[in-house]
Structures are given as C-alpha cells and as structure tokens.
Symmetry: C2
Subunit: 304 residues, 2 copies
C-alpha cells in the first residue's frame, strides 16, 4: 500500500457545516471561525454560498463574511454558486474560486436543485465557462455518490458520468459526496476505482459524511488509490437539509489526527484546529462532534 | 486485499462497557441487555467480572447476572477473573470461559493491577492452568497496545512478548487492546504484523477504543492481515477507570454496519442490535454513542 505523502484538506465547515443550522449565526462568528481555521493551517476554506437566501437563509451573509476576511496569500475561500447570478455576486466579492454542484441520482437532483442531472449540467456550463474566462477556478461537487435517500444504491458508472461531465465543463477538481453517509469501505474504494476510469485520480476529492460512523474508514480505504484531497468540517459540523438523517461531515480533527498518525502531511496544527472548532461550537452551545477534539479537550482539562 | 469471509464479534458492552458507569445498574437491566444481545445474534458476550467490588462496584452482581441468563447452546458468556479466587467464583456459576488481563506497559500494569507485567503473568499462570484443567477456555487481554497514558508510545515487540506469554500460559486467544484509543491505522497494522511474528493470526483479536474516532479505520487496516475476531461494545459503551479520557469501545453497531457493507458475515441482526443498545442507553438516560445506531433510529422515526 502506498499512501500519499501529503493530503490537501478542503475545510467545508463554514458552508456545508453551517448551512443547515436553524439559528442564525452572526457574521462575526463565521468570520472568526474562518480566520481561526486559516490560523490552524487550512488553505482551502469554503466560506459560503450565493444561493437564494429563501432556500439557505444561513448563507445570506456570505458577501459580508467575505468582505471581512483578512486577505492571506495562498489561501482560497471558495463559495458555492448555483447559477450566473450567483457567480456575478461571487465575482463582485473578489472570490477566486467557486463551486458548482450536481447529483449522481435523478431523484436527489430533482428534489435538491429542482431539475434533472442533464438540466443541471446545462445550467452549469455557462457558469463554469464565465468563471474560467474571468480567471476563476471552478470545483465540481457530485452528491449521493454512495447512496441516495430516495433511490438507494447508486451505480459508480452514474457517478463517473456526472464527474466526467463536470470535468468536461472545466472543473479542475471533482468532489465525490457521500451525502447520506451510508457508504462502507469496499464500496467507497470501488466507487473511486470506477470514477478513476473517467476522471484522473489527481482530480478526485472525497467528501464523506459520517452519518453511520463510516467516513474515516471509507477515506482510509481510498487513500492508497492515489486520492489526496479530502473535504471535511471542523467539529464534525454539517448535514444536508434535503436528506433526512444526513448529519455531519467527517470531522476535520479526526481526519487530521489519522493522517498525522500515518505520517501524511496536511500542514494543520491540530491544537489550533480544535480551538477553531470551539470558536463555533461554543456559539452553537454544543460539544464538538469530533471524537479527536473531545479527547484533546479532555486531555487539556486533565492537564489544567 | 483479502478480507475474512466471516468475523466473530466479541461483545464486551455488559462488562467493559458498563464497569465504569458511576450509577448502579440493576441486575435485571444487565440481564435484559445480555439477552437482547444474544437475540441479535451475538455468540460471545462478556457478562461481567469477578474482581473486587471495592475496585469495580458495578460488577459486584456478576454471579446474579449469570444465574439469571437463559442457557443457550453455542453461546459463551466469558467473565474476567483476576486470580484463583475469582476463578473459583466463576466456576461456581458454571462459567465455561474466563479472561485474564495483562498490560503491555509497566506503568499501566502497576497502576491498573498493582504489579509488574512479569508478576501479573506469574499470578495468571495458576489461574489459566486451573481453568484449563477444569475444561474452561481462557482468553487473554493485553492493554495499552497502541499507547499508554503514562508512557506514551508502546513498542510492538513489548506487546508481542506479553501476547506470546499469555498464549504460552494456555490462552486460546489474545485480545489486543488500544485502551486509550490513540492508535491510527498504520500503527495498528504494524502492531498486528509485529504480534503475528509471535502469535498466530487466528489467535489474535482486536479490541479498540474509539477515543479519537479512529477505531473503525484501525480495524479496517488490520482486517486484510487475517484477523477475524473483533471486540466491541453495543452503543459504544465503555471506558477505562484508570485511563483518563479513555472513553468508549468501538460501537458494535458501527462495526456490524461496516462488515455487512463489506460482505463480511457476522451473524448479527443490525436492527435487533440497535434495540439491544436502546435497552441499556434508555436506562443510562443517554443516546447511543454509535452513529450507525443513531442513523437507524432517525430513519425509524422518519418512517413512523
């Protein structure tokens, strides 16, 4: 088994992690979270989305969040954009990277973004083209890659088709989302092998939710295939408003702890990362969902 | 990679899982838990321990628990015994399997069982001999195999020495305990490879705590080496009274979910297992620590 020497972690807590929180989180708290994540060594931090505030009210202040972030060379703050209007709002904020999102299952596509997979790709084509013409990088998400809440099993070939299409539109990286977290290690591995037939491995990122506690094992199962980009959310924040029970991205702390133990470089300061998580979970009035974070906090308490 | 066709799960919830609970759990609740676990298909269920009730008051009623269990052919209810006196009490209850426990780290051995590793092995020698002469099977635990709360790193060679000694005394199986849950996948794999130089792989069981969220990934990392016995606790119960922050065995539900997804047979009915977990977590007035259990419960609620 050959593992990558280095893994790039894409922190999705401020967006995927918070978008479904029912209580409004002040802009200042989001800014503080993102700055703390940057202090901890994260270099890709999804900062928000320019979707309709009717659908995702928690992300209504993305422009304000972006305006308050301290510019740091080398750091990327991608945002989700559903259409050209969203892209224009992102560009007005000086964003240098955006993300578009399609599903691997027709039913989920219809319920989540109200159109078929093919229609969503058609809709994204001018978004990606315009973004790239303006010098922006575009990331593509594919959801439901290991299962759909409405259809159950999803074929790797279906995921590969959508991933290939997004790559063809001009996305530089395709993030494979186990949106409902039902995947298990061999399925995850076979998925990546299947998608790799259509998309180069160095263009694939893994975005696994921990609903059934499987995310870390699923990541491990794919890491020796040549994938070296992992999406995760500090404190295990997150969920999907359109997939019942789809709680929690895999926690960045747990991923960073595992990779550090395996000698894989991430550039993350784990103690500072735990502090970043605390900055938002204190606000949400709950414990971090990350077990590594809890263990580190318990160790700190014991030392104090 | 070749995974085992079948994994035997040793359910340790009623003993390792409950021994550190601060409030007294009624005997009837323990009996109900064990019966529910047997109903769910578990065939090895650690039912208690005959250690001093001064040290582990929660296990003081082990004889009463055993007396109330419905005999089932093919099922084993092992109990922990620290010495000959404990063994005699276990035999008086008709127990057919006992377990002895040593540590891989000197400091932990002294703090946990108040003697050196060598002294503990000397003490266990007549226990194992007497048990085997009486027709009992004896299992051996080694704790701190991937780290010690007092010494930090623990060498695989040190674990291998203790494991080999326990095997030499007559234990049929050696359970390797990541007592404080600090291990990560490559370390777990190297540990098993190291121990396998001294103990046949089919004699090795994995007993990982999920303190840092790594247990399932660590199990996965060892499964293609030829290990096919996993210790786990329903609802992620557990902890170690002598290792601060050592909370929670890996949850049986999460392990069973992963193995089922990988096509590995366990004989476990996952829905019934979730019910078994509920029978005790309702009593403890908290949610199951198993994410798979929570997801299944959330799905049930949605369907109702």
């Amino acid at each position: 088994m050959t593992y990558p020497e280095r893994v790039r972690i894409v922190e999705v807590g401020p967006r995927d992690g918070l978008q479904n929180e029912p209580t409004t989180i002040p802009t200042a708290a989001k800014v503080a979270l993102i700055e703390a994540l940057a202090d901890a060594g994260l270099t890709s931090i999804e900062a928000g989305s320019f979707v309709s505030p009717r659908w995702v009210p928690q992300m209504a202040d993305t422009a304000a969040v972006l305006a308050q972030l301290r510019p740091r060379p080398g750091l990327r703050y991608p945002v989700l954009v559903p259409n050209l209007q969203g892209l224009e709002r992102a560009r007005a904020c000086g964003v240098r990277e955006v993300a578009v999102f399609a599903a691997a299952s027709e039913s989920f596509s219809r319920r989540n973004i109200n159109c078929s997979i093919a229609e969503s790709l058609e809709r994204f084509a001018p978004v990606v083209e315009t973004a790239r013409a303006a010098g922006l990088r575009v990331r593509g998400y594919v959801s439901c890659v290991l299962g759909c809440p409405y259809e159950g099993a999803v074929a790797a070939a279906a995921v590969a088709r959508v991933a290939e299409a997004l790559l063809g539109l001009g996305c530089y990286e395709i993030s494979l989302g186990d949106t409902i977290g039902t995947g298990t290690p061999l399925a995850a591995r076979r998925l990546v092998e299947g998608v790799a037939a259509a998309v180069p491995l160095e263009r694939i990122a893994l975005h696994f939710h921990d609903t059934y506690g499987q995310a870390l094992a699923n990541l491990l199962a794919c890491l020796d295939l040549g994938v070296s980009v992992i999406d995760s959310a500090v404190a295990g924040l997150g969920g999907c408003p359109y997939a019942r029970g789809a709680t929690g991205n895999v926690a960045t702390e747990d991923v960073a702890y595992m990779l550090r133990g395996m000698g894989i470089e991430t550039g993350i300061d784990l103690e500072a990362l735990v502090d970043a998580g605390l900055s938002i979970t204190r606000h949400l009035n709950r414990e971090p969902a990350s077990k590594a974070a809890r263990a580190i906090l318990s160790r700190r308490q014991a030392a104090a």
